[in-house]
Symmetry: none
Subunit: 413 residues, 2 copies
């Protein structure tokens, strides 16, 4: 089944907040096999609200609406709702009692604004909101159900989990959708597409494939629908096995896993440790590891050597290497990686040295020139990259490529 | 003037990504005095796309569309666009050249899919995308302009800043809105409001004030509209001077400046240098400094000492301090900061040691316990925090508080 999500309020439209509510709702609905047809953000304008309701009711039989129900804005949206559903506001005793209890807990006396919040459109089904003063409301028109919720994220989430989703499970027929995402690295979208074209063409009709490019690489999302859960799981798994045969070295993980997490798994399993010796990435690779819980099991530390002194004093890079080859060179980055293993006593060390920009570029070494090395005890591999002009991108791509190089080394050992 | 934003693709609708693009665009458009009427996310379905275009064209004369322009098979958007605008795809030489140059830089050969990306609807105005293979496109129908951009955030941002916004300024009537944001730290919203209440009440009618709380502190946004640019600038500046008189110690910067950038300015001006010695933040503070261009002038490096061995071996923390007080203690964090200055030869050093979670907590030192120290040569100040249970938040708040502590020290010297 399909539904629309409508958010009401100015904050999203002026870019003051990012609409995280809709993404959260979409994910939960998707897990129930409910398909979100569209997500639309509109302002508090009565005509626009009504028009949007009319359009949605033509296309779907369920609409979830968030926002526009706070204590100050209340009146306008509720009035618009009453006009649309051809009803009027009446006081709801259970809602009033909930409001009184909530305010009581906070030591606040009931005022007129709060009393008005207990007014609900006559004929609506009420979902009690234990975390806030605005209730959830359900109203129907021409076979389409509209469910209204406050826009405050934790109140909306409470209502969804404990009231709305259980109601949907009981009252609507839902199709199960199964998503699995295969995470790839090291192949641009177009080359990847070429490699897997015959596999893709042979996918059964009930499995859809989407290419989702990201800074970490291209994610391949398989979405199955219409069969029994266990059948779909088996079929998707078997398709993934087919895919592995084609691009195994480029698959670093599945679903929400990050490259650093997937490396962490290998390191933990083997009992290996890693460190980083970073110049141009300035701690970004250390961050990629340490943002994951449990990373202290395999990540031991980093020397961020932004200055040549630290490269010499702490990482033991020889003065003459820096003088002869410059900090951005194969010789220096390999020395950083090898010494990184030694100084921080780890099995592996990643080193980076480059010109992130916008300053510091020369004709010979323009902005975006980056050397990456990965060392394993006394072995070292290194590679030269040229990423381009954008500082942020250069740092991000250096991080991603260095993890890709480490992973490549790990899976050969 | 009003416009609609349309995003095409499944990712938002299944909750796999949060739509940050639209919020960013809305903010930029707002700065230009352009009002976003609605933001709508739809799937790659031809009928739905066409229907949405038709609806928007009835209401506004400008529509910005993102997504659906990648090289692979899941992007049917171009075909749908051609049908809607009653045109056909033709190869664009300039786009092809741009694609070739981009692939060349990355050392990738052009294939058929890339060549197809140079196909653009006949009659479209092309905005060159220097950061990616999909160009921006402008097409008109019944007096409504549609601008298409790729959904990859940094490509969209590039196209908006360097192509689309300049085009809009030249071709559409926009009302000038002047925004200036004063960035504050260390005062909660309610206390800040109390301190500046009389200043706020005396603001002229054409200047609006908004309180924007964020993890870095409260931002005060002044928005002026309706006067000549130079008059508005002068008036807003004079209001900011009034504000400085009231809360100078809490203002850390203006507009998009980050706390690390504002510290960088002070350090550069004074010729001082800084380093970090990080345990629980795992390189996050180094990142806050090094994400800014020019940071190599004052940021020298970092030792990320995730393990006790690195705390001892590289930072010279005494074994007995670690044994008697534990790694998360005033004694250890002060030693890390003081030795950080010495080992990395900097005027200042920030040190952190704490339990980011989810594991590692004890009754005495629960998850969220964090010590921060800031050293200036042989002086050191330190503070104990307890941030709570969320790993990501613990790291972020430790970073922000350590910068706030450093700034407090810097402005007293």
């Amino acid at each position: 089944m399909n539904l629309d999500i409508i958010t009401i309020g100015d904050e999203i439209l002026i870019g003051q907040i990012v609409d995280t509510n809709s993404a959260w709702m979409a994910q939960k609905l998707n897990d129930e096999g409910i398909n979100v047809r569209q997500i639309i953000s509109i302002s508090d304008d009565a005509d626009h609200i009504t028009d949007t309701f009319v359009q949605s009711a033509k296309q779907v039989n369920l609409v979830l609406v968030t926002g526009g129900l706070g204590p100050t804005k209340d009146d306008k949206t509720k009035e618009t709702i009453c006009n649309f559903f051809d009803t009027r506001l009446i006081s709801n005793q259970a809602v009033l009692q909930n409001i009184e209890e909530l305010l009581n807990k906070r030591g606040i006396a009931l005022n007129r604004l709060n009393r008005d919040q207990a007014l609900v459109p006559e004929g609506s089904h009420v979902f009690q909101n234990k975390l806030g003063t605005a209730p959830g409301l359900l109203l129907k028109k021409n076979g389409c159900s509209f469910i209204f919720m406050p826009g405050v994220p934790y109140e909306m989430k409470y209502l969804m989990e404990f009231e709305v989703l259980p109601y949907l499970r009981d009252n609507f027929q839902t199709t199960t959708i199964l998503h699995r995402t295969v995470l790839t690295q090291g192949l641009p979208e177009s080359m990847l597409a070429e490699k897997i074209t015959s596999w893709e063409d042979a996918l059964p009709g009930y499995i859809k494939l989407a290419y989702l490019p990201s800074p970490q690489g291209v994610r391949l999302r398989l979405s199955a629908r219409g069969l029994e859960q266990s059948l779909m799981e088996a079929e998707v798994e078997s398709q993934i096995i087919g895919l592995q045969k084609l691009i195994a070295p480029n698959i670093y993980g599945y679903d929400d896993e990050s490259p650093a997490e997937s490396i962490g798994k290998i390191l933990t399993e083997k009992g290996w440790t890693v460190s980083t010796a970073e110049s141009c990435t300035g701690g970004a690779i250390a961050r990629l590891f340490t943002e994951n819980p449990g990373s202290s099991n395999y990540f031991k530390g980093s020397v961020v050597a932004y200055s040549n002194e630290i490269k010499k004093d702490i990482l033991g890079v020889k003065e003459e290497l820096l003088r002869h080859h410059g900090a951005v060179s194969r010789e220096v980055v390999e020395s950083m990686a090898l010494n990184g293993c030694r100084v921080m006593k780890t099995d592996f060390s990643i080193a980076t040295s480059g010109i992130a920009g916008p300053g510091g570029g020369t004709e010979e070494k323009p902005v975006g020139t980056v050397w990456i090395a990965v060392a394993h005890k006394d072995r070292v591999v290194s590679q030269l990259f040229n990423f381009g002009n954008d500082r942020e991108r250069n740092i991000a791509r250096t991080g991603q490529n260095s993890l890709f190089m480490l992973r490549k080394l790990l899976i050969t050992l």
